[in-house]
């Protein structure tokens, strides 16, 4: 059966690795994002690596006008429809502290924008009765920390949304995977201090594909972040509030 992936935030390095991995399997790919020139280069790339079709689509998480056309285009593809959300943004906490209005954008990029698109897509996927949704959150959403708690809050909201969506869509055979990456070697982390155990985008993409195949619900990638975050979540609040991690 034909399989198609709509990828939100397709210019992300992680998304690029993921798109290539599904391209090699011959899937159709709809690459959604803001940088149309880059998206069309990526579309050629996916096509040459084996994608059935690859098309660039305009999507801005802060502009709901762009959502409808995405859904319409996705529904033109027959067969199994899948969606993956990589869109997100992480201004530094200090930038946010000096301009709190940035919080709205962080929520839109990481949570409300993607959630609205998924919510519009959900009934279509329900009626087809198959397919998967991949939502990329972050370990940062597992506990609010001094250095990035606004970003963390947006990721936590998205994770909670995905959990509910999974609950709903499981009833019609659509599977939802929540992905919580640790540190990944992309533009978002390049040159940032304090990075360790940084994973390649390709390794993360392979983890995600495996999770889709095995119908895992929530994955940490690389896997050991599950244990790191377990420890971080277990630290009692009276102690945690004094830590700088």
């Amino acid at each position: 059966m034909n399989s198609t992936w709509i990828i939100l935030g397709a210019t992300s390095s992680m998304a690029r690795a993921f798109a290539r991995a599904v391209a090699i399997e011959g899937a159709g790919i709809l690459l959604a994002g803001r940088d149309m020139e880059e998206l069309s280069r990526l579309a050629s790339d996916c096509q040459l690596r084996g994608a059935r079709i690859a098309t660039a689509l305009h999507f801005d998480a802060r502009d709901p006008e762009t959502f409808g056309p995405l859904i319409a285009r996705a529904c033109q593809e027959e067969g199994e429809l899948n969606a993956a959300v990589f869109a997100g943004s992480m201004p530094s906490q200090t930038e946010i502290d000096s301009d709190p209005s940035l919080i709205d954008g962080v929520m839109a990029d990481n949570h409300t924008g993607p959630a609205r698109v998924l919510h519009m897509l959900a009934p279509r996927m329900e009626s087809r009765g198959c397919g998967a949704i991949v939502g990329v959150g972050s370990v940062a959403g597992d506990r609010g920390r001094l250095n990035n708690y606004v970003y963390g809050a947006a990721k936590a909201a998205f994770a909670t949304y995905l959990s509910g969506l999974r609950n709903r869509l499981a009833r019609s055979g659509v599977h939802v995977v929540t992905v919580k990456p640790g540190f990944v070697d992309t533009a978002m982390t390049w040159g940032l201090p304090g990075m360790f155990l940084v994973a390649s985008p390709e390794a993360v993409a392979q983890d995600i594909l495996r999770a889709v195949r095995k119908r895992r619900n929530v994955i940490y990638t690389p896997f050991f972040w599950r244990w790191i975050m377990l420890i971080i979540r277990t630290i009692p609040e009276p102690i945690f509030k004094k830590l700088k991690i």
Binding site: T11, S13, D35, E37, E38, R41, L42, S44, D45, L48, R49, G50, T186, A187, W190, G191
Partner: protein
């Protein structure tokens, strides 16, 4: 675009540098990074020495600019961004009947790196060098991007092919792929008893791909013994390659000590039956045998290693034999030693290939090996040959005088492209390739 200050090394890990590195993820970011100044570029750092090192400076890591942009099956011309790895192209295209016309011994090399070293493959005697199949390339300068073709701007093309990145950042290239029937190799392996037989077999080989593994520890009557591999692409089904293993840490010195290498080489030699054999392999096993083990350079321990590679004219084969004899007697060689026949094909002023024989031998980074290699470099020069900048980390400026007769032509073009010397890398400085200034 943020610059990350970090220490890094060439593949041999004997030479290191600390630089500020930018790694643009897309074309637009590259243009932003370049701003109004020229900055040198690097690929996967598979050059052994300091070709990609810029100590104390800035460098652009091109490995994320790796999109395939277009392919025309009518002409076989593929357009790619410069950071695409050769192995990725082979993997994507061989099943459809196309291969890069020239592939170096590692699939991790980027197209930009292959252009800047004008690399050769196991088919050099027929196919020539990498850049002879490059139809055009795009060079970024602070004022914009320029299309460079061998016909339209022959000087600039010849200065860029094998030009060590000194003419600007190679952003993308269009290259002609070669037809192949499928993604398997039919490989014939034969034992070679000694040096004379090796040369005769290499000269006589009619195969498309020919490469010799040489036991650089064998002396006396066995000097120059090895295995000749001749390959043709074919179609069929072979088991997929196993997932690559990884060397997890620096190995202790003993791992490649002389008795271990001798024993390994003897076993490796006997692996092929005395009567020879023909086997079918996945293409990557044949072209990129070492890529199966990630980070294999760590086998040489923390201090790293060197590769000596030279080419000498056909008439100077005896000089090459004398060099091999010295290497064998020194007991310093590792199992990685390769002998190939080269044709005359080359595309740039500083391209390595010349009609003749090329020998490549790895040695651990010890004082004894360093002084041996320095002497071998001089021997190669005296034999009318030259050393390969992709591999060298030890030569001094005076050692290479005369090796590259077109050096002055190269300098003229490079001086025009980069008058302020902003693209100078550690290798270019060490060998004073752009003059003493």
């Amino acid at each position: 675009m943020s610059w990350k200050r970090t220490e890094y090394a060439g593949w041999g890990r004997a030479l290191r540098a600390t630089a500020e590195i930018a790694r643009p993820e897309r074309l637009r970011a590259l243009h932003g990074t370049m701003g109004d100044a020229l900055v040198p570029a690097m690929g996967m750092r598979r050059s052994y020495g300091d070709a990609a090192l810029v100590d104390g400076g800035r460098v652009i890591d091109m490995t994320r600019l790796d999109r395939m942009i277009g392919f025309d099956p009518a002409t076989g011309i593929l357009e790619v961004e410069a950071g695409v790895r050769i192995g990725e192209i082979a993997a994507a295209f061989a099943p459809r009947g196309w291969l890069p016309a020239v592939m170096p011994g590692t699939g991790f090399a980027t197209v930009g790196g292959c252009i800047a070293q004008d690399v050769h493959g196991k088919n050099h005697h027929h196919a020539g060098s990498f850049c002879q199949h490059v139809v055009s390339l795009r060079l970024a300068t602070p004022t914009g991007e320029n299309e460079v073709t061998p016909e339209g701007s022959p000087d600039l093309f010849r200065a860029t092919a094998g030009g060590l990145g000194q003419t600007g950042v190679i952003v993308s290239a269009r290259m002609k792929l070669a037809r192949c029937p499928g993604d398997v190799m039919v490989v014939t392996e034969r034992r070679i008893a000694d040096w004379d037989e090796f040369l005769a077999r290499l000269d006589g080989s009619r195969a498309t791909y020919t490469v010799g593994w040489i036991d650089a520890t064998a002396t006396g009557a066995k000097l120059g013994r090895g295995i000749l591999e001749e390959g043709e692409t074919g179609s069929g089904l072979v088991p997929r390659r196993r997932r690559a293993a990884r060397v997890p840490m620096d190995a202790p010195r003993i791992a490649l000590s002389s008795p271990v290498v001798r024993a390994f080489n003897a076993a490796y030699f006997r692996r092929v039956p005395a009567s020879g054999r023909t086997v079918v392999r996945p293409i990557d096993d044949f072209f990129f045998p070492l890529d199966r083990i990630h980070d294999w350079n760590r086998l040489y321990g923390k201090s790293g290693f060197h590769q000596f590679q030279c080419v000498v004219p056909v008439g100077a084969a005896d000089a090459l034999r004398a060099m091999l004899e010295r290497i064998a007697r020194s007991g310093l060689a590792s199992p990685l030693a390769v002998l190939k026949r080269m044709g005359a094909g080359r595309a740039g002023y500083l391209s390595f290939p010349m009609e003749g024989y090329t020998l490549a031998v790895d040695m651990p980074n010890t004082e004894a090996a360093r002084s041996l290699i320095r002497e071998l470099i001089v021997q190669a020069r005296d034999a009318g040959g030259r050393i390969y900048f992709a591999k060298d980390s030890l030569a001094r400026a005076e050692d290479i005088t005369g090796m590259y007769p077109e050096l002055d032509d190269w300098r003229v073009v490079v001086g025009r492209q980069d008058p302020q010397g902003r693209l100078i890398t550690d290798l270019v400085r060490r060998l004073q390739l752009r003059g003493t200034a």
